[in-house]
Symmetry: C2
């Protein structure tokens, strides 16, 4: 059987180009005892992948040149020589940018399509949802009546942050790019206010949306949005930092002025807490509670999610560029092959 992989061909400089990936097609080897063959249905595209493409030291190892790009996936077991798995079962795995994967079964988690749509295992009930949950509740710690601001707010992390903030009695203000996304924040996700960072009046509109200042700024974008929000932070505000999507393609420090002294001045004069985190830090202590709470919220409709599905593995590089530029609208997934649990298979948001 033929399989396709996208391998890292070169370390991207700035925005990743198609030529930074090799598309390789090859014959799958026969399974050994204990192995399963997976067909990738959904590949999750997430901003952290930009870091994996770089050689710079980060919290996780870089993908080496010639290796398959990493990524969370939802797969179907199509052949099994492992007694724990049967053909036809659906699993969450970390198979990366490829059409098929051979696994010894370690790290696979079975998914029940009756419980929730299988794609949510890499979205609202997966890594992005847990990033929102852990960072907001265990670093941001919003109190009832406080104001929580999040950017990239229609994305899988941002939309969960705002909705969980509301469930905890806080006021949720979302920042997104363009009127369509801002409308979704209000109508679909129930934010208290939405601010368009592309608006020429962004700064004043943000100020109007947070009349009592900002107590928690959930940071996942960086850049000018961060600077604007920081001016509105209250004393003792908390800033969980889970991502910096606006700056992942930076190739060098931007020109001045140097904003670092001003940033530290704010940290000092407002007694701010700025805390970087990766969700893995919280898994042992909080992942069970997350799955329980979040599944309940998704089931009863108190947490909604939006997906942006792109068809075809080879479209992953272009879709990923769009993700870094904010062109996706909801959780970005590549549908690598047919979803056997889906009623239809149309593209776009659900």
């Amino acid at each position: 059987m033929k399989a396709t992989q996208l391998r890292l061909a070169a370390r991207p400089v700035g925005e990743p180009k198609d030529a930074d990936f090799d598309v390789v097609t090859f014959d799958l080897p026969a399974l050994s005892e204990g192995e399963v063959l997976l067909r990738v249905i959904y590949l999750s595209l997430d901003p952290y992948m930009r870091g994996r493409m770089s050689a710079a030291k980060s919290y996780a190892a870089s993908v080496e040149i010639g290796e398959v790009m990493v990524g969370g996936t939802v797969c179907e077991v199509i052949e099994s020589r492992n007694p724990r798995f049967a053909a036809g079962e659906l699993v969450l795995s970390y198979s990366g940018w490829q059409s098929h994967a051979v696994s010894d079964g370690r790290g696979l988690r079975k998914l029940d399509p009756g419980h929730a749509p299988i794609s949510t295992a890499v979205g609202v009930l997966g890594m992005p949802g847990f990033t929102a949950y852990a960072g907001l509740l265990h670093i941001g710690k919003p109190k009832p009546g406080e104001t929580v601001v999040v950017a990239a707010a229609t994305g899988p992390v941002g939309s969960a942050v705002g909705q969980i903030a509301k469930l905890r009695g806080a006021c949720a203000v979302g920042i997104a790019g363009g009127p369509e996304k801002c409308a979704a924040l209000l109508d679909e996700f129930g934010f208290d206010a939405a601010v368009d960072h592309r608006s020429p009046g962004f700064d004043a509109e943000l100020a109007a949306a947070v009349p009592d200042g900002v107590d928690v700024y959930f940071e996942n974008v960086g850049g000018p949005v961060t600077e604007a929000v920081m001016r509105r932070l209250n004393t003792f505000a908390r800033m969980p930092v889970c991502g910096l999507v606006s700056q992942y393609n930076l190739t060098e420090a931007p020109p001045g002025p140097d904003r670092l002294p001003g940033f530290f001045r704010q940290v000092l004069t407002k007694s701010l807490t700025v805390r970087g985190f990766i969700q893995t830090e919280f898994v042992a202590e909080h992942h069970d509670e997350f799955l329980r709470e979040m599944s309940g919220w998704v089931r009863d409709g108190s947490v909604r999610y939006r997906q942006d599905v792109v068809a075809g593995l080879t479209n992953a590089p272009e879709a990923f560029r769009g993700l870094l530029a904010g062109r996706n609208f909801g959780k970005l997934l590549v549908r690598v092959s047919e979803d056997p649990t889906a009623a239809g298979s149309g593209e776009g948001g659900d």
Copy 2:
């Protein structure tokens, strides 16, 4: 009786000049019922005062033009119409840059010269010591075997940070300006290593002093020292921020490149905690425990302190400029009038 005050005459631009203060001499009014007359013995000079000279919003109100500069003081009661105080008693007060003060008794704390030298009430047993204690133990939270780095390390905050870190089983590395101060860190304060930030090889010398990286960086200076230490921070490092003395005289954002994106990248990839604080936040919960522990440590010699005493109230502006430039060597005090408890009255370190 004549009294002298230094009043803020103008908001300093950059380094405070003599002309930014008015020296005013006037006749003290008679006391009303309930009041005491204080003679200021020691005026504490501390970096935070630069913020009070500015109009910019901070954690405390600015000193208004024409008002006496604020500051912690050790005083003698020389006349009393308050039954709680008798002439000759020594008190800690917040009387500011003046030779005498009239008080209604609120906020005065009696000092026992048999307990500790009275000047320590504005030093190792006062605000600077408590800043070190609270920030290190309740934000930095060093574990035995971890590495704690502090700059301005011969100052009252830095020297206490290093010594408390040692008492908690951590490794203490101090940064100071010049070989004399570095020698004092090792010989007088018992740091494990000392690094001279004026050395051309500073960066490599710092690296050699922290072979296991840095777990706690107690930030009180800002600037290039911070940037060098940040490169050595370990995953999950903590950074209590109590001051930024190197940048208080900045009049605008320095030229680029803009280091803020690189800073946030470090916060994210190393899961750092950066936490600004003012010691007042911790007073209710921890000041009693501080006084008990720190008094014991000072008495048994496990925490030492160094004082830099300048004679004469009108020398306060020049001494304060020296403080911001790092020219003091130990806790900077102005001896405004004779210390009745001191054996001699020579200048300089103790």
